[in-house]
């Protein structure tokens, strides 16, 4: 690992001043991804600004039934918070399906938002990667691409984003609150992550020097009936091949509210807007679910080793929706 300077910010103002003055600096959360990337010399900052000891904002109600989660809060604390477990169980589950207990104790919410891809070629400095070295090419497209994307790819990058937490946040339609040189602003979740296009090295809508300060969860009463399912190569402690985050409300046999997002299949947490539109107002039936997933996955394209993800995603979405529909039936019975 290359050497660098380390500073610990006591306030967010100090953190913003430091990032504006120190050249080639990065914010440091728990470090479970960044420190590892630095060990591999994939990330080579000259300065780290530790933002884990800013005044704690914690997890609190934000009015009208919403919840605000401070960027410094550890993943395990989010998963175990009563407000999250009761109102947004899919978020609690998504976090518990991610990483290991040791990592969840350290990883922060803000850091998780910035977690980078686990594409083998991104990590392998002998390989070509447009994300690591823009313009060099992508060795994943014709390489071993079992873990790669089938939606939202570009001829320049087919890497997947690795986070579970962010898939749940996409389904919930969270808002990312940031502070920076231009002051505070809010970024809707669907605008936070960028698809690779011609610039796969630019992954988020954050401007230089901006710091994530909190995640705002909207009031969403029907999210109490929600679920996160993760399909992976082994039973635990592995990244998703496909994951599904869903919330469902049914009234008189009709779907009146639905949220759906996918992980493991795209360069960003994939909010399934097409499927949601097909499901909304439709009868609560297996046919409806099947039609909706066909609509969502019709643009999907595999790259050989990952072709299986398209069918795997379809089947798991249908199965999760079925489980949520049955759950609703039981509650009413």
């Amino acid at each position: 690992m290359r050497n660098f300077s380390y500073s610990r910010a006591a306030t967010s103002q100090e953190a913003l001043t430091l990032i504006a003055t120190l050249p080639n600096a990065k914010f440091l959360g728990g470090g479970t991804n960044l420190v590892d990337l630095m060990r591999e010399n994939i990330e080579q900052p000259d300065a780290l600004i530790d933002v884990t000891r800013l005044p704690s904002t914690g997890i609190k109600e934000s009015g009208c039934g919403g919840v605000s989660i401070g960027a410094e809060v550890k993943n395990a604390a989010v998963a175990n918070h009563p407000l999250i477990r009761q109102r947004y169980p899919l978020l609690s589950q998504a976090i518990l399906f991610g990483a290991s207990g040791q990592i969840r104790n350290v990883a922060t919410v803000g850091g998780n938002m910035m977690q980078r891809t686990r594409c083998y070629y991104f990590y392998d400095k002998a390989a070509r990667c447009n994300k690591r070295s823009p313009g060099l090419g992508c060795d994943a497209i014709d390489g071993f691409n079992r873990i790669h994307s089938v939606l939202g790819t570009s001829p320049h990058c087919i890497a997947t984003h690795p986070s579970d937490m962010r898939v749940a946040l996409a389904a919930l339609g969270a808002t990312v609150r940031v502070d920076g040189p231009a002051g505070e602003r809010e970024i809707p979740f669907h605008e936070f992550h960028l698809l690779p296009g011609e610039t796969p090295h630019i992954e988020t809508a954050l401007a230089p020097g901006e710091l994530i300060t909190s995640i705002e969860l909207p009031p969403l009463a029907f999210a109490a009936n929600s679920r996160y399912r993760k399909v992976r190569g082994r039973a635990s402690y592995a990244f998703a091949l496909v994951s599904v985050a869903a919330a469902l409300e049914i009234n008189n046999g009709q779907i009146c509210n639905v949220r759906l997002a996918l992980g493991g299949v795209a360069p960003k947490p994939w909010r399934a807007h097409q499927a949601e539109a097909a499901l909304s107002g439709a009868p609560d039936k297996l046919d409806t679910f099947c039609l909706a997933v066909e609509t969502e996955l019709s643009p999907a394209r595999g790259f050989r080793d990952n072709n299986f993800k398209i069918e795997l995603a379809k089947r798991n979405i249908v199965s999760v929706l079925n489980e949520l529909a049955e759950g609703e039936d039981k509650q009413r019975a």
Binding site: L28, R85, F97, I103
Partner: protein
């Protein structure tokens, strides 16, 4: 001892006199061998810079044996053949003690049927899932789980 900002917690522990218990194995957060307790919570020493833990209390395996008496989990691991080569064992012990505290704090897991409910069952399935961040290449998992059951049957880890 002095370390640079680039020294990771695992490096610092290895270089510290007489603290040879914490093992650095995969060096990338995949195996759990370097698990230590940081202010009572289990964490991976290889994925953190030493400087991040300034002011924190780090407990390594050396902190478990008090006055020559083994921690109940250490004794149970011997009783149940919970190791062969022993390389992963310090990490397994630190992880299991941290895991038990999480369980007692009511933290659900990926196999908990209903995360919105408060009831947790200290089952084999729960232990398996919660300990999945610690690999044992000798495959002593059955013995490790049996030892965890026995050591924590009557409650709080010390």
């Amino acid at each position: 001892m002095r370390w640079s900002p680039a020294s990771r917690c695992s490096d610092a522990l290895q270089e510290y006199p007489n603290l040879t218990g914490t093992k650095k194995d995969c060096n990338q957060g995949a195996c759990g061998a370097c698990t230590v307790l940081c202010d009572g919570e289990r964490t991976l020493a290889c994925l953190a810079l030493a400087v991040q833990y300034e002011g924190a209390e780090i407990t390594t395996i050396e902190g478990f044996c008090k006055d020559g008496e083994l921690h109940p989990l250490q004794a149970a691991l011997m009783e149940h053949d919970g190791f062969q080569c022993g390389y992963c064992t310090p990490g397994q012990i630190c992880s299991a003690v941290g895991m038990m505290r999480e369980f007692q704090a009511g933290l659900p897991s990926a196999v908990t049927a209903d995360v919105s409910a408060n009831a947790l069952e200290f089952s084999d399935e729960e232990i398996k899932e919660r300990m999945s961040g610690n690999l044992c290449r000798c495959g002593a998992y059955v013995g490790i789980r049996a030892a965890i059951h026995e050591a924590f049957r009557s409650g709080v880890p010390r």
